[in-house]
C-alpha cells in the first residue's frame, strides 16, 4: 500500500467514525507529514505502514481526542434503521397473504430512499435527482407489469434528467429542459400515432448534441468520471433497446441500467466501502432474476440479506 492508499484508507475510516471534516483534514495532514518524514529517512512504504500502524489502529488510538459530526436526529435515524423491517413486513404480507411477490418487492426501495431523504442536506432538486431513479424504476415496473406497456413507459427515466437539469445553476438549463420536452413530446406522438419507436430515438440527438457542446452530458449527470461511465451509459442503452426491440425483453433488461451506479460507485468510492455500496444493486439483480425466471419470489428476497452480511464482514474488518 503506497502513501495515497494509506491516507485514503485513513480518511475512509475517519469518515466511518463520523469525525468532523476539519479534524479529519488536520489528522490527514499530520499523518501525511509523518509519512513524508519517514520517506525522507529512506524507509519503504511497507516499513512506514508498519511504523504508523493500520489506519484502523490509528483511529482507535485517537478516540477521545477528536470531535465528531453531529448525528442526525433520532426519529430520522430510527426510521432509516427500521425501514428494512417495514419493507420486509409489507413484502411478506403481500407475498404470503396475496401471492403478489412481484412487484411488491419494490417496497425494498424504501430502504435507500429513506436513507437519502433523511440524510441529504442539499436542496430539493438534488434530493429529487437522488431519489428519482427509484421512483422512475418503481413506476416503470409497476406500469409495465400491469399494462405490459414497457415502451414508451421507459420515458419515465427521463425524469432523472429533468431533476438533474433543475439542479444546474445556469440559465441554459431551460434550453435543455425545453429540448427534452419537445423531443419527448415528438417521440411520444410519433410512437403512438405511427407505432414507430426505434428510429425516432434520433429526436433526442439535438439535446445530446447541445449538452455535449456545453460539456454537460458527463459533468452534471455522471460526475467527474466522464469516459468510463459515458461508455457504460451508452452500452446499457444499446443493450436495453436492442434486447427490448428484437427480443421483447423490456421487462427484464432494465437491470442493465444498474451497472451505471455500480460502475460509478467502483470509480468514485474508495477502499472496501465500494463493495458495501454495490451490494444493494447486486441483491436486486439476484432477487429479480430468480423471481422473474424461476418464479422464486418467496425465497429470492434472501438475496437482500447480502447487504447487511457484506456490510458487517467488510465494514468491521
Amino acid at each position: 500500500m503506497k502513501k495515497k492508499g494509506y491516507l485514503d484508507l485513513l480518511e475512509e475510516v475517519l469518515r466511518q467514525n463520523s469525525v468532523s471534516v476539519e479534524e479529519c483534514r488536520d489528522i490527514l495532514e499530520d499523518y501525511e507529514e509523518l509519512y513524508d518524514g519517514y520517506l525522507e529517512r529512506g524507509m519503504s512504504d511497507e516499513e512506514i505502514k508498519e511504523k504508523l500502524g493500520s489506519p484502523y489502529n490509528v483511529v482507535a488510538s485517537l478516540k477521545g481526542t477528536m470531535h465528531y459530526e453531529k448525528k442526525i436526529t433520532k426519529p430520522k435515524e430510527k426510521f432509516i434503521a427500521v425501514s428494512p423491517f417495514i419493507a420486509l413486513l409489507i413484502f411478506f404480507i403481500f407475498g404470503f397473504g396475496y401471492d403478489i411477490w412481484h412487484p411488491t418487492w419494490l417496497v425494498f426501495f424504501l430502504i435507500p430512499m429513506s436513507a437519502i431523504v433523511f440524510s441529504m442536506k442539499e436542496g430539493i432538486w438534488h434530493l429529487m435527482t437522488a431519489i428519482s431513479p427509484f421512483i422512475a424504476t418503481a413506476f416503470f415496473i409497476l406500469f409495465g407489469f400491469y399494462t405490459g406497456v414497457y415502451n414508451p413507459t421507459w420515458m419515465v427515466f427521463l425524469l432523472i434528467l429533468v431533476f438533474a437539469f433543475l439542479t444546474m445553476n445556469e440559465k441554459r438549463k431551460y434550453l435543455y429542459l425545453g429540448l427534452l420536452l419537445v423531443s419527448s413530446a415528438l417521440y411520444l406522438w410519433i410512437g403512438l400515432a405511427y407505432e414507430v419507436y426505434g428510429i425516432s430515438l434520433l429526436l433526442f440527438l439535438p439535446l445530446l448534441a447541445v449538452l455535449s457542446y456545453y460539456g454537460h452530458v458527463e459533468v452534471k449527470l455522471i460526475g467527474s468520471y466522464r469516459k468510463p461511465i459515458g461508455y457504460v451509459v451508452i452500452t446499457t442503452l444499446v443493450v436495453y433497446f436492442l434486447g427490448g426491440y428484437f427480443y421483447d425483453l423490456w421487462d427484464v433488461l432494465w437491470l442493465v441500467f444498474l451497472t451505471i451506479p455500480v460502475v460509478a460507485i467502483y470509480i468514485g468510492e474508495k477502499g472496501r466501502s465500494r463493495y458495501i455500496a454495490m451490494t444493494p444493486f447486486v441483491s436486486v439483480t439476484i432477487f429479480f432474476l430468480l423471481g422473474y425466471f424461476l418464479d422464486l419470489w418467496q425465497f429470492s428476497w434472501l438475496a437482500f440479506l447480502l447487504i447487511p452480511i457484506v456490510a458487517i464482514l467488510i465494514g468491521d474488518e
Binding site: E33, G53, N57, V58, S61
Partner: protein
C-alpha cells in the same frame, strides 16, 4: 510497564522535550523513542490531546524536502502544567524509592 502509567510519563516527557525547543511531530516521536520504547500511536494522540487542552500551540514552517511541517510550541499553560507534572512525578518516585530502598 503498565500502559496507563507509561502514557502519563510519556506525556510529561513530551512536554519536557518540546519545552527545550519547538519541534515537529516526527522529531518528537524520535526524541522520545531514543529513551523510551513508544510508537507513533502513543505519541501522536498525546500531541493532539495536549494541543486541544491548550498546552501546545502549533504553527507551520516550510520544509525544503517536502510538505510544510507542523511545529509544536509549549504555551504558558503548558509550562505550568509541566511544572505540576514534574513535581507530582518527583514526589511520587521519591516515595516509591523510599519504600523499595528499605
Amino acid at each position: 510497564m503498565n500502559a496507563q502509567f507509561k502514557k502519563g510519563v510519556v506525556e510529561m516527557c513530551i512536554l519536557k522535550l518540546v519545552s527545550h525547543r519547538d519541534m515537529y511531530g516526527l522529531e518528537v516521536i524520535e526524541g522520545i523513542s531514543k529513551e523510551i520504547e513508544v510508537n507513533e500511536n502513543t505519541v501522536y494522540p498525546i500531541l493532539r490531546r495536549l494541543t486541544v487542552a491548550g498546552y501546545f500551540d502549533t504553527y507551520k514552517e516550510k520544509n525544503v524536502a517536502g510538505p510544510d511541517r507542523k511545529y509544536y510550541k509549549v504555551t504558558s499553560d503548558g509550562e505550568a502544567y509541566l511544572k505540576v507534572l514534574l513535581k507530582e512525578y518527583k514526589d511520587f518516585t521519591a516515595r516509591v524509592e523510599r519504600m523499595i530502598g528499605e
